[in-house]
């Protein structure tokens, strides 16, 4: 028996030997790798009390470090916090760092290689280490306008970009929050505030799950632009094609029927041109296109518009992505997916990029938030240039789609977005959320149609049809006017 007891002891010691090994690995051998991991907030927080560079919009700092107490010299503060929270993120002692504060940490903290000489200088002059400041592409007035266009208590996002450069001019979502609440040096207040904020649905304390870059929403009819591009590039369709437009589409072997919207004008014709189908946002023509072309063709075109693809690292914000479903869909599933329902999801930013590609002759530009990065002595360290992200479709096809989108605003259901004297191109979408009559209501479009200066994407979550109509197209009009009248 004692022999067995000894063996058991040996087994226990062997387990402990494994533990010693595992601990040594984690804390010494693999420690550097863990320290360098992008999720690891501890490295950033090492410099919690240093003077970080400012984040600047329109010449004014929206995030900056101000002198604080003796024990912790600098405190991060945010001006117009709610307006920019989704962009700046927060810099918190106990909850880590998100948003641009995290993505641009190297520059803001002054630890990037480009600031090496500055650091040497600071060393000799005995100055406090100071980081570079970053100016954003955002337009403060536009940002404010967009933010105010989402009523308080309404969940929604607005993205305004320049389709030619990929610069983001405004990007807002509600509900928002005040990052100062979490950046405070008072640990208890910080904890209380964080828990309080976390309870509010839709608050994007974690940008990759909500807001313009992270909320994966059913795109509804705005996805029909993808079907249209797929149809035209397949060679099977051209601008004069007549599409079948049954009042409802049935599928072999199941009860379910896919209807056209009963309230619209779709039921007046049994066939439809592309122009009519887009103007009235009929469902069945696009479901028929998808049936005809097959799932792979739609998925491939969606990927070309960036669905499920990388947005490049210029954006500097975490973003979510989702591809058109890859697993085999049945006939009904494909039809529903073709009109942006079922499992199709996209972030507001993704839809904005899709529209921008159509506006920019089929070329999708890399989304960009950074105008300039300047060292503490105001030297320009970096200035991102516009970059092509991918080619989504041919110039001819994009011109054709633009033309139809213009008619959506001039004669179709996007009339609310019309701006006198300017050709506005647009597409609306209504994605049903279930059976309670609430939808995600979309508008995406650009203006002027022949020389696009601005692309606007608006989504309002969980609204009924009337509210959705009031909050999308008319709001887009206000943004177009604001930009074009500058």
């Amino acid at each position: 028996m004692n022999h067995a007891i000894r063996n058991s002891w040996i087994a226990a010691v062997a387990m402990f030997a494994l533990i010693f090994g595992a601990l040594s690995y984690v804390q010494v051998v693999g420690a550097d790798e863990l320290q360098a991991n992008a999720w690891n907030k501890r490295a950033i927080l090492q410099n919690y009390c240093n003077d970080r560079g400012a984040i600047i919009v329109g010449g004014k700092p929206i995030a900056q470090s101000v002198a604080a107490s003796e024990s912790c010299k600098f405190q991060r503060t945010y001006t117009e916090p709610e307006l920019y929270a989704g962009i700046t993120g927060y810099f918190s002692k106990n909850y880590g760092v998100t948003g641009l504060e995290s993505a641009l940490n190297e520059q803001l903290a002054g630890s990037s290689d480009q600031l090496f000489l500055d650091r040497i200088g600071q060393l000799f002059l005995g100055n406090q280490p100071k980081g570079a400041s970053v100016e954003l592409t955002l337009d403060p007035e536009l940002q404010k306008l967009a933010y105010d266009l989402i009523p308080d208590g309404q969940r929604g996002s607005i993205v305004v970009t320049n389709p030619k450069t990929g610069d983001i001019l405004a990007m807002v979502s509600k509900p928002s929050y005040d990052p100062n609440l979490i950046a405070t040096q008072d640990a208890d207040a910080e904890a209380a505030n964080f828990n309080e904020l976390n309870k509010i649905p839709g608050i994007n304390l974690n940008q990759n799950v909500s807001g313009p870059t992270g909320a994966l929403l059913a795109p509804g009819s705005v996805f029909k632009l993808v079907d249209t591009a797929a149809a035209l590039s397949s060679g099977k369709y051209n601008k004069d094609s007549e599409l079948p437009n049954p009042a409802e589409m049935s599928f072999p072997g199941i009860e379910y029927k896919l209807p056209n919207y009963a309230g619209g004008n779709c039921y007046t014709q049994s066939t439809a041109s592309f122009a009519f189908a887009l103007q009235q946002s009929c469902n069945t023509p696009f479901a028929e296109i998808a049936r005809d072309l097959g799932q792979k063709a739609i998925a491939a075109q969606a990927a070309k518009f960036g669905f499920g693809e990388d947005l490049g690292d210029q954006l500097k914000l975490d973003y979510a992505k989702k591809a058109f479903p890859e697993e085999e869909l049945d006939a009904a599933g494909l039809a529903q997916s073709a009109i942006g329902q079922r499992d199709v999801r996209a972030t507001p930013l993704q839809i904005a990029l899709m529209t921008s590609a159509i506006a920019n002759g089929g070329v999708q530009m890399r989304p960009n938030l950074i105008k300039t990065v300047r060292s503490p002595d105001l030297r320009i360290i970096s200035e991102p240039k516009p970059e092509v992200l991918r080619t989504s479709t041919s110039p001819e096809i994009s011109r054709q789609i633009s033309e139809w989108m213009t008619s959506v605003v001039s004669q179709g259901i996007g009339r609310g977005a019309a701006v006198p004297g300017v050709q506005v191109a647009g597409k609306t979408g209504t994605a049903e959320l279930g059976t309670d009559g609430l939808n995600n209501s979309w508008f995406t479009g650009f203006a002027p149609a022949n020389d696009p200066q601005v692309s606007v994407t608006i989504v309002m979550q969980g609204v009924d049809i009337t509210t959705g109509a009031q909050l999308t197209s008319p709001n887009a009009k206000k943004i177009f006017e604001a930009v074009l009248n500058k």
Partner: protein, 489 residues
């Protein structure tokens, strides 16, 4: 150092000296955590320190009276661990949180119960009478969390809690003790039966199917715990406990092979069938993938944050109160090892793990020294349970194995775990008291393991006894009679 003790020495003064050292460690740590956080020498600190010291001294005095030959190292080790745990929990308390004092209250309760066990039980062999009662109690304890009315429902994905008034309690923690008592009782009575019958297959001697009954039962119990309470850690613990005890009872390696085989098989099937097991394994294997990291259930955020913390601590640690252990979820309970890793570094954690190693080693020594089969089995089982629990917890935190919900003995915040582990300490102290105390026969020289730390009496290496010759055991119905023939090693 090498001498055969003619007369047993109580060594209570050694214990007192070590105890003062242990209190210095715990209280010193508690003082240090406050230095940077304006918690230094606050009311909580004095309250916690003085009460811990008082309780430890009372325990020591009780040992002087009731179990004066008890192992002098066990109590100081546990007091040091418990003190460190208190310090860390106090350090992690944010304003308005009172986990530290709550932990202290439970420590006092647990020590009180352990003292009561020592005081009233007098001799561990009495427990043998309760073999089948223990089984019934174990079953009851394990079923309790599923009983509507007292069940606290599912907390964090496992339903292992019961609610008594405002308190929650994990009966499974106590069940490991009652199960160990049942196993020890059953096996010490039925060893012959299990040993004598059997078939040889190749080099292995397999027991009869009839005798596999308790084995299968134990396996089913642990699988049952896994299914109904979603408690992966406990099922591994119960099963490991049973394997080691049946191995010690029979000295047959075949049991271990069957047992580990069943465990792996069960685990594999469970990972396929039960989503929560599959998620845990996925969270372990793919901890660093986006999807797994952010997942709400079975996500790896906890593990990864813990690893970051430990990596931040590095070799020497940030120092108590200087790190950011609060970035890790459950920093004061499930992940307390990561908190220590961050603030005390690899060196500190090695010291802590070393204390556990010494603790269970002392338990095994008590098992070697005591002369009744029941006591041997019980001490061995309880000691191994402590070791296995540490392995499962620390292995999980370091991503050596999937993370399962077990508590770190004596360190983690949680009353049930403290209570159960202090009772184990009480039992081990009692067994070591009979092991080291005087006997009417000639004292058996204790074998000491090479490399075993502490004061000891190594004997010349003994020829390994063939494992197939278990000690003969006259079936004595009288539980108090020493039943095992003393074997000279």
């Amino acid at each position: 150092m090498t001498q055969i003790e003619a007369t047993p020495k109580p060594r209570r003064n050694t214990e007192l000296a070590l105890l003062i050292l242990a209190l210095a460690v715990g209280i010193g740590a508690n003082a240090l955590v406050g230095v940077d956080q304006e918690k230094a020498f606050d009311q909580d600190f004095w309250f916690q320190s003085s009460l811990l010291a008082a309780a430890a001294l009372v325990f020591h005095i009780v040992l002087r009276i009731r179990a004066k030959y008890a192992d002098p190292v066990i109590l100081p080790l546990v007091v040091a661990l418990n003190g460190l745990g208190l310090a860390m929990i106090h350090r992690l308390d944010r304003v308005g949180e009172d986990t530290g004092n709550n932990q202290l209250r439970w420590t006092l309760v647990a020590m009180g119960v352990a003292i009561a066990v020592i005081w009233f039980l007098k001799d561990h062999r009495i427990l043998r009478r309760f073999t089948y009662i223990s089984l019934a109690v174990s079953a009851l304890l394990l079923i309790l969390p599923l009983v509507p009315g007292i069940s606290a429902g599912e907390i964090l994905g496992a339903s292992v809690w019961i609610k008594i008034g405002p308190m929650t309690f994990q009966p499974g923690e106590v069940a490991k003790i009652t199960l160990a008592i049942f196993f020890a009782g059953y096996l010490s009575s039925n060893r012959d039966l299990i040993l004598l019958a059997g078939r040889k297959i190749g080099p292995l001697q397999f027991p009869r199917f009839k005798d596999m009954g308790p084995m299968i039962t134990a396996w089913l119990v642990s699988i049952g715990v896994l299914i109904f309470q979603r408690d992966l850690g406990s099922s591994v613990l119960f099963f490991g406990l049973f394997i080691v005890m049946i191995y010690v009872a029979t000295s047959r390696i075949s049991w271990v092979i069957i047992g580990v085989g069943l465990l792996l098989g069960g685990g594999f099937i469970a990972s396929r069938v039960f989503s929560h097991v599959g998620l845990r394994i996925d969270g372990w294997l793919n901890a660093f993938t986006d999807e797994v990291y952010g997942r709400q259930y079975g996500g790896s955020l906890q593990i990864v944050e813990g690893l970051f913390g430990m990596a931040n601590g590095g070799l020497v640690g940030t120092g108590l109160g200087q790190g950011r252990p609060n970035l890790v979820p459950f920093a004061n309970s499930d992940m307390i090892i990561a908190s220590f890793g961050e603030e005390l570094g690899l060196i500190g954690l090695f010291a802590i793990v070393m204390m556990y190693l010494l603790l269970f080693t002392r338990g095994f020594r008590a098992a070697l020294g005591t002369r009744d089969a029941f006591g041997k089995l019980l001490a061995c089982g309880l000691s191994f349970a402590i070791a296995l629990q540490c392995f499962v917890v620390i292995g999980g935190v370091t991503r050596l194995i999937p993370l399962t919900g077990l508590t770190t003995p004596f360190l983690a915040a949680g009353g049930s775990s403290l209570l159960a582990n202090w009772i184990i300490v009480g039992l081990l102290l009692m067994i070591s008291h009979t092991a080291r105390g005087p006997v009417d026969t000639t004292p058996m020289p204790h074998g000491a393991e090479p490399g075993e730390p502490g004061e000891q009496k190594p004997v010349p290496p003994s020829p390994a006894r063939p494992a197939k010759q278990p000690a003969r055991q006259p079936s004595s119905a009288h539980p108090d009679a020493p039943t095992e023939a003393v074997k000279q090693l």
